[in-house]
């Protein structure tokens, strides 16, 4: 049983917000914390790890109480079995890849674990390199490997892929998904990327201004459940232009621009920057091999 019941007053750049969440997580699954920056997502991870103390609530991970205001329990970060992957990776520059992993071990008798994880993350060839010689994607894999080597009870990933380019991000999403499912480790991923949510999440928690506004499967949250479409994509409007008597709305879906014909009436409610869903009801889309 994993319960997050956290209250904390945060003072951010745009005033104070009250972080107040109460949620039970699915054991062994990946839950995405979704929301704009400043919603308190990263702070929640830091509170779970014990790096930031909440004002109240209770944190129970796999049945173990790590924090409880009521019972006056507050384990120090060292006693919490977390694997934390930071946005900037936080690899130790003075250590090689292998030494970074060895440092993470609780006892040197588990050294075989290092080689196992290096193998799992396909890092064996890089093991004697220093972090400064690695690419962003490789550093990311080392950070994940270092978090896994301690066999944590919960894996906390703070926007781990946001600094990477699109192709590398897609590749690492697959890898993350594979490793997470293989190890069956309860995981919280902070993200503000909807495609990432659909690809990785078992459940999503939508966080706004420190509060949970919605939670459920990615489809329930972002699927546009009131349209029974044959296909649908969510994207962002990048351009609206007039062409003769109709309007052409350009929508960015993933890496592609899709142009949609719209009437003048329809365009009055649409603005550049809006998130929209494109769907087809009456006609079957044509599929050709690319």
């Amino acid at each position: 049983m994993t319960i997050l019941n956290i209250q904390k007053e945060l003072r951010g750049s745009d005033g104070a917000i009250n972080l107040d969440i109460n949620k039970e997580l699915d054991h062994g699954k990946l839950t995405v914390l979704f929301g704009k920056s400043g919603a308190g997502k990263s702070t929640i991870l830091k509170i779970i790890a014990g790096l930031v103390e909440p004002d109240g609530g209770e944190i129970v991970i796999n049945g173990n109480t790590w924090y409880s205001k009521e019972k006056n329990i507050n384990l120090p970060p060292q006693k919490r079995a977390v694997g934390f992957v930071f946005q900037d990776y936080a690899l130790f520059p003075n250590m090689t890849v292998r030494q970074n992993l060895i440092y993470a071990l609780e006892s040197k008798t588990k050294i075989h674990k290092v080689d196992e994880v290096l193998e799992l993350m396909e890092l064996t060839k890089l093991s004697i390199q220093k972090p400064e010689t690695l690419s962003g994607g490789q550093r990311q894999r080392v950070a994940l490997a270092r978090a896994l080597v301690r066999e944590p009870e919960i894996l906390l990933l703070d926007e781990p892929l946001s600094a990477l380019d699109f192709a590398m991000r897609a590749k690492l999403q697959d890898e993350l998904s594979r490793v997470q499912k293989l190890l069956g480790i309860t995981t919280i991923l902070v993200s503000h990327d909807k495609s990432e949510v659909f690809k990785l999440a078992y459940k999503v928690i939508d966080l706004q201004m420190g509060k949970i506004v919605k939670s459920g499967t990615p489809m329930e949250l972002f699927g546009g459940e009131n349209i029974s479409g044959k296909f649908k994509f969510s994207g962002e409007i990048v351009d609206i232009s007039k062409s003769d008597i109709v309007y052409v709305v350009s929508v960015l879906v993933g890496q592609n621009i899709i142009k949609i014909v719209a009437t003048e009436d329809e365009t009055t409610t649409l603005n550049i920057g809006d998130n929209v869903i494109i769907s087809s009801k009456a006609f079957n889309p044509i599929i050709v091999k690319s």
């Binding site: 930071f86 130790f92 003075n94 440092y103 400064e132 301690r150």
Partner: protein, 226 residues
């Protein structure tokens, strides 16, 4: 021809600088660590005290230390009676004076070294179950090697070059408190320019070599980090 007194004086100078630097390292690391990470509201006051020797005339510092450590009254008398330790006009006194006077030269580089490291390194090590002291020795200190080197070398060089505090606290006793910078003054007073030049040239050359070494090594460190 090198006189015996020259060797004795230079030896004493480096002994003083060496001992001072080693003790400063043990004081400077915890102090800089504290200043870099503390949220204590007295931090500005502590920083101001540490930095005082940078702006205060050495004679002011020397004068108060002379009064404070005088064996005739107060703290100096207590030290004299309890530990048979006399700090005025002795080598031990010079060490104490040099430690206080060179403190900012050790603390400042270390403090900026600690502050420049990403905060996440400490957080990451904490989530990996490591204690604060383990993190200090295995993560923080190895990653501020350029700052450590700068602190050690500048403290050493600054102690070698000190004049005012040393003169006030130590006087000019051959083999006990006469260091190179005092000896230059002494030889000039005695119109013994060739010996004064010998001291001066030696200090000049050594200071240049030390600084050259620091800049060359740190350049390599910085390159390695890019």
């Amino acid at each position: 021809m090198i006189e015996e007194s020259f060797i004795q004086t230079m030896g004493l100078t480096f002994k003083l600088a060496g001992i001072t630097t080693i003790i400063l390292l043990f004081i400077g690391i915890p102090l800089a660590y504290f200043l870099a990470y503390t949220k204590n509201r007295f931090k500005p006051a502590i920083e101001a005290i540490v930095s005082m020797p940078l702006v205060l005339p050495p004679s002011v510092l020397g004068f108060y230390m002379l009064v404070f450590f005088s064996p005739r009254d107060g703290f100096g008398q207590w030290l004299d009676e309890m530990f048979d330790l006399r700090l005025v006009f002795t080598f031990e006194g010079l060490v104490v004076a040099s430690i206080i006077f060179s403190l900012p030269f050790m603390v400042h580089p270390l403090q900026s070294g600690f502050s420049a490291l990403p905060r996440n390194l400490v957080d990451a090590a904490l989530t990996l179950g490591k204690s604060k002291s383990n993190i200090l020795f295995n993560v923080l200190l190895p990653n501020i090697r350029p700052a450590l080197l700068t602190g050690i070398v500048i403290s050493f060089a600054h102690t070698v070059g000190e004049f005012g505090v040393v003169l006030m606290m130590g006087g000019n006793i051959a083999g006990e408190t006469r260091v190179a910078s005092i000896a230059i003054y002494d030889e000039v007073e005695a119109l013994n320019y060739s010996l004064a030049n010998q001291y001066a040239l030696t200090l000049f050359a050594i200071s240049f070599c030390i600084l050259l070494f620091v800049y060359m090594v740190n350049k390599r460190f910085l390159k390695a980090q890019l």
